[in-house]
């Protein structure tokens, strides 16, 4: 029949293949790559290339809007599927723990040191200020009547907050409290990461602020001669937790540094490269804070011996440092 439009004949010849591709994509999108048969996988690249070339031809010969819009959508979906990540979520997680996370931390030594200086600098500042004059504690922490850990508390009261007496009820309340703390800390860690975008200045402030709170509390216990015991109480989970907060700050500084000083890259490209690296660091912080919460919720309440507390603190420190900084053989794939 000669009365048929050229563009219609073009469509008629290829329509079956388009629909086939559409069907495969729909199945893959709805139920994952595993739902595809080997045959589907084998024909997919061919169908994709055909659809893409159909699109460019259709643009120049056809004035049927519907066909062009359909092909545009089909090719976009097919492109993202064909060139998209085919790795499963499990592989991605394994990859994160095996390589991405430690590599990201290892690559951020300068930011990590900077963040540690802000946190511990703030802590040291508050500590020495409070030792000289305990009124500083009230300036820093404000008057909180619910927390009895303040300069007016007796040595015995303070001691009781560090150790759990056997049979004391409220163990489970403490576990609820520690999950609340995890929530808080993890949110702060992500916040420190995000604030990095504002050139890292709010991140620095957040770190100093957290350091000051710790330093002031430390001074209270030190002043009452409980420095050794308090350190054990704090560090059993604190090594992990403080390390996580330092790394979250480091993540913020990576972004802040990249946005403020892009160097040879364009500001956009620099922010993008830094953001992806820093995201791994921030994700790792969440993992570390979960571990810290477990140590805090269970370890701290169940273990009342200073020596074991110190041993756990030391072990976690060695493990984290080894995990992040020990050079490892590069996998040759």
């Amino acid at each position: 029949m000669t009365d048929v439009l050229k563009s219609y004949r073009f469509r008629e010849e290829r329509e079956a293949d388009w629909r086939k591709l559409d069907l495969i994509l729909t199945r893959a999108e709805n139920s994952g790559v595993k739902a595809l048969s080997d045959e589907d996988m084998a024909t997919l690249p061919h169908l994709y290339r055909q659809a893409v070339s159909s699109l460019s031809v259709a643009r120049s010969i056809s004035l049927d809007q519907n066909v062009i819009n359909y092909l545009e959508g089909l090719c976009t979906r097919a492109y993202f599927f064909v060139y998209g990540a085919r790795t499963s979520i499990g592989e991605r997680i394994a990859q994160f723990f095996r390589e991405d996370w430690p590599a990201a931390v290892r690559g951020a030594v300068f930011s990590t040191v900077l963040a540690a200086l802000f946190l511990f600098g703030g802590a040291a500042l508050a500590f020495f200020l409070c030792l000289q004059d305990m009124d500083w504690f009230w300036t820093i922490n404000g008057h909180n009547f619910f927390d009895m850990r303040n300069p007016d508390a007796s040595v015995e009261d303070l001691r009781s907050t560090i150790y759990t007496t056997p049979g004391e009820h409220g163990q489970d309340q403490l576990s609820a409290f520690s999950s609340f703390l995890f929530n808080n800390n993890a949110q702060i860690a992500l916040f420190a990461f995000a604030l990095g975008f504002a050139f890292g200045i709010p991140t620095a402030w957040l770190l100093v602020y957290n350091g000051v709170t710790i330093g002031a509390m430390y001074a209270v216990f030190w002043d009452k001669g409980l420095g050794y015991e308090f350190t054990g109480w704090l560090l059993i989970h604190g090594v992990t937790e403080l390390f996580a907060i330092v790394l979250a700050g480091a993540g913020g500084f990576i972004i802040g540094g990249a946005v403020a000083f892009p160097g040879r890259l364009s500001r956009l490209a620099s922010a993008r490269a830094a953001g992806r690296r820093a995201a791994n660091v921030a994700m790792g912080c969440v993992v570390m804070l979960i571990i810290a919460a477990l140590l805090e919720g269970f370890g701290r309440q169940l273990i009342n011996s200073d020596v074991i507390r110190y041993a756990i603190a030391g072990t976690t420190l060695v493990l984290w440092l080894g995990y992040f900084y020990l050079p490892r053989a590069r996998r040759t794939a």
Partner: protein, 314 residues
């Protein structure tokens, strides 16, 4: 200079020119949202960026879903732990719920965007998806990076909005609100409609609406017997351009019989068509669509794109 009012015919053409300018401005605006992705095969795919309004809509849906999850899980927890009272079980359950809450709050988006569709339910509902700006694959850390900044964009303005009870801190809060508002309204101020998170992750959000392939109208016109008897002269087929063809396609595909009748009437007047006995509006429109498209496609093959009926280039 004459003081006489423009004649009615002139008024009509001024009106038409105005409408045409407005239409072209709209097309220009639409084309600003299109980005060309060149695939490794060398073919160009046109990606349409999502507008800020669509993004906000998708976000609203997602927030509603998040709240629904959080509230139902809390109620469910209360129901389950109810018989045990406020004992240790309830506390432990609450501890788990808090952690669950954290993950819903922060990992809801990450979970869905890592999936095959690269979109949260809200984005899916509006036909959006996340894509890497360089056209490469969307990596996991890009998804993490773009979502970890939500705290800055949404959380911070909210914190400032609810801060400040006395005079001094109210001023501070206002200052903070303005400052954090920069992050919240970031997508409105850049041409790629990127959030802060998109910027540091190297991503953007594009539209991938699902279009279904419908029948070809020209073919329908050619195969049905009712098409017999329609033959248009070259001058009649030249009366309109591509824009009108597309409008006619839309009319034929999705409008009511009344509108079709009106459009048929206008085309008949324009091309000077004498209605034959027993001719229906739809048959006329389909036949004219086929004739017009044939003519325009032929001209397009020769490199002459007649964009609309005012286009008199030959």
């Amino acid at each position: 200079m004459t003081n006489t009012a423009p004649s009615p015919a002139m008024q009509v053409s001024i009106e038409a020119a105005k409408r045409r300018r407005a239409r072209m401005a709209e097309e220009q605006r639409q084309s600003k949202m299109v980005r060309v992705l060149v695939t490794p095969e060398g073919a160009a795919i046109h990606l349409k960026l999502a507008t800020a309004a669509e993004r906000a809509g998708a976000f609203a849906i997602d927030v509603a879903i998040q709240w629904a999850i959080v509230i139902t899980s809390l109620l469910g927890l209360k129901y389950i732990s109810g018989p045990f009272g406020m004992g240790s079980g309830a506390n432990l359950a609450f501890a788990f719920w808090l952690v669950f809450f954290f993950f819903v709050r922060n990992f809801y988006y990450i979970f869905f965007e890592l999936g095959q569709k690269a979109a949260t339910p809200g984005k899916r509902a509006l036909g959006l998806r996340v894509a890497s700006r360089d056209g490469g694959r969307l990596t996991a850390n890009a998804v993490l990076a773009r979502n970890f900044t939500r705290e800055l964009e949404i959380g911070l303005p909210f914190q400032f909005a609810f801060m400040g009870h006395d005079q001094a801190s109210a001023w501070m809060a206002l200052l903070g609100l303005v400052w954090s508002g920069i992050f919240l309204f970031f997508p409105v101020f850049n041409k790629d409609k990127m959030r802060v998170g998109d910027l540091i992750a190297g991503t953007w959000v594009i539209r991938t609406p699902k279009v279904s392939l419908m029948g070809d109208i020209s073919h329908a016109a050619a195969t049905t017997t009712r098409a017999a008897g329609f033959s248009f002269t070259a001058a009649q087929a030249d009366a309109y351009g591509i824009h009108e063809l597309h409008v006619l396609e839309d009319v034929l595909r999705q409008s009511t019989p009344e509108i079709k009748a009106q459009v048929a009437e206008r085309i008949r007047t324009k091309i000077g068509w004498v209605t034959t006995a027993g001719e229906t509006d739809i048959a006329f429109l389909e036949a004219y669509y086929a004739a017009l498209r044939r003519r325009l496609e032929q001209r397009m093959l020769l490199g002459q794109k007649k964009i609309d009926k005012y286009d008199t280039r030959t």
